[in-house]
Symmetry: C2
Amino acid sequence: MRNAIDCISVLLKIIWHICMLVKTELASTIQQTYKMDKKTSVTIHDIARELNISASTVSRALNNNPRISQATKDKIKALALKLGYQPNIIASNLRNQKTNTIGIVVPLINRHFFSTFISGVEDVAFEAGYNVIISQSNDLFEKEKQIVHSLFSNRVDGMIVSLSMQTQQFDHFQLFSKKNIPLVFFDRVAPQLDADKIIVDDFACGFKATQHLIDQGFKRIAHLAGPTALNTYKARMEGYRSALEKNNLPVNDELIIFNRLTRMDGQQAIKQLLALDTPPDAVFCGNDTSALSIIVYLKSIGIRVPEDFGIVGFSNEPFSEVVTPSISTIKQPAQEMGQKAAELLIFEIEHKENPRKYQTITMPTELIVRESSLRKS
Amino acid sequence: MRNAIDCISVLLKIIWHICMLVKTELASTIQQTYKMDKKTSVTIHDIARELNISASTVSRALNNNPRISQATKDKIKALALKLGYQPNIIASNLRNQKTNTIGIVVPLINRHFFSTFISGVEDVAFEAGYNVIISQSNDLFEKEKQIVHSLFSNRVDGMIVSLSMQTQQFDHFQLFSKKNIPLVFFDRVAPQLDADKIIVDDFACGFKATQHLIDQGFKRIAHLAGPTALNTYKARMEGYRSALEKNNLPVNDELIIFNRLTRMDGQQAIKQLLALDTPPDAVFCGNDTSALSIIVYLKSIGIRVPEDFGIVGFSNEPFSEVVTPSISTIKQPAQEMGQKAAELLIFEIEHKENPRKYQTITMPTELIVRESSLRKS
DNA sequence: CTGAAAGCGCTAACAC
DNA sequence: GTGTTAGCGCTTTCAG
């Protein structure tokens, strides 16, 4: 018995040693791979050594510094190409205190307005030699804060932001303003923020949409408002109210419903509205999604749009054009807004002025009249 | 006369000097501003000096190195907070040869599939402490090449790519494979590429869609194919052909139309198909956009969908659900694909294996049957 | 026109 | 536990 146990114990020890051997073997392989990795990365020093010149000359040549003779430039560039040299931008960034990177913070990337905006930013940024790093706040204040800190630590040269739905404080942006790093807000902005802003005139849009419904002969117009903590939804609602007043129509609070404008919200809202003693005959919705769900519901209960009920949405989502009936809506120039934001930001990055003057750029919008509101040709 | 000229010359000199003075003044102001900027940026050395300890201790403390006593950690962290210390990640990146950044290359950011995919990537990346930097190739080969080089120079730790429509060569990706930087392709991939891939089974999807039309009693089924240089469109078409063959239906080349699947393309294609001697009674479209335009056209000329003509699209664009008739389509799990791609990439970044084994992950798809193809309940 | 040297801010091997 | 020191790869004075 004893013997057997001893035997096993010895065996185990042997196995253990084998394991250890394998492990060190593996470790050294990894080590070697690592070294190989490093060797494949050619630096300006490698080029310098090969040509018996200094690294600074190589650096200057590759940056087209006029003080270097054409001959050496050619020599250096040729070798760089041959060796497959790729500059380490991280090192350059550290030295230059500039990353050529701009950060974007949006609530959600996969919303048509935002992704189109980002596309516009990317276009301009790429042309100007900037990278774009994006993050989504998912409409959460805490995540927005984290993102902003992270982008700061990553030393972005500037940042473009649309606020989360929950954001009411703005301390986290002071990091940027204190270090004089340009900041451009768009769409969802805060009035109390001293910064550049790219917006549309949501008030005018709300007015325009409502006036259009009035012009089409609708008499009792309701409004689906988004969270009025956000400047955009608040202004749209105020535009709506103002249009009613201007036309001497009563502003009736039971006709204004506040929610988050999801499809569910839209359906609930229209049910609630139709249950009123004197229900409305039209509604201006804070977005197209809710407008859509209202159309679907009305169709399902046999109310005709626009004959019996008029609808105007907001944002010109891709589906608005193709549903039946197609949805009248307000078109925001998302791509152009992105381009403009990027242009403005990059300009400020490259021409930092002190003291700064903040601009607010209002982009043009368009009321697109489609079937859902068109009773008169 | 002479006097006058002398006078002017002296005046000019004076003005010149004033200018110079102003210039130096300005320069020093700028200098000062610069220094102020620098001073506001607190580093670990500032913390170290203040506490009479070394920078390395500070570094270790902030990174929660267990070798530092809790007491000093607390002291350091408290001061860091007080001074508003923000780590310079660029410096850390350079030193660590790691950027915690992953690059994404897509044809177009503001396409629902891609932006949703990106959103999925961002979710996972953020959780794992990675930044996401995105670029769009605009379906141009040259731009794709530039982007890939730029991302490499920016030392991304890994990259996620969907190829441009024009891409036929893949040399630009060797930068990454040579340095053993993980690379994950998705959706539009190249079979000859040795890399990880996240795809759906486009062949099976094409088959499924076509089989569904057959099951619904459609007899003569056409196909709108995208550019077959892309694996996705090619496989969809092959699935279509295979389904016909399996059901002993003839594969008729005049029923297969190749284009870029825009709305225009869709309209042209359907006209062409209806002009045939024996036109089809259904079509499987390579995407939802072309399916939509066909529906619109058929409605306009009084052909009923699905009674007279069946349609299946691809991708489950948001509008597909809400148009009338709603479009039967294939749903790709874009968000999940993005999450999976990010998980895979990050895993490979953090567990670099040598030699690498490349995986191809096929994500599940779903045929969503809606009105445009449903003749039998 | 080119080189030497210092340093961007952080980390980690090595020493004590 | 903490300090010393040496870089990561690049740019940029300053000096010749």
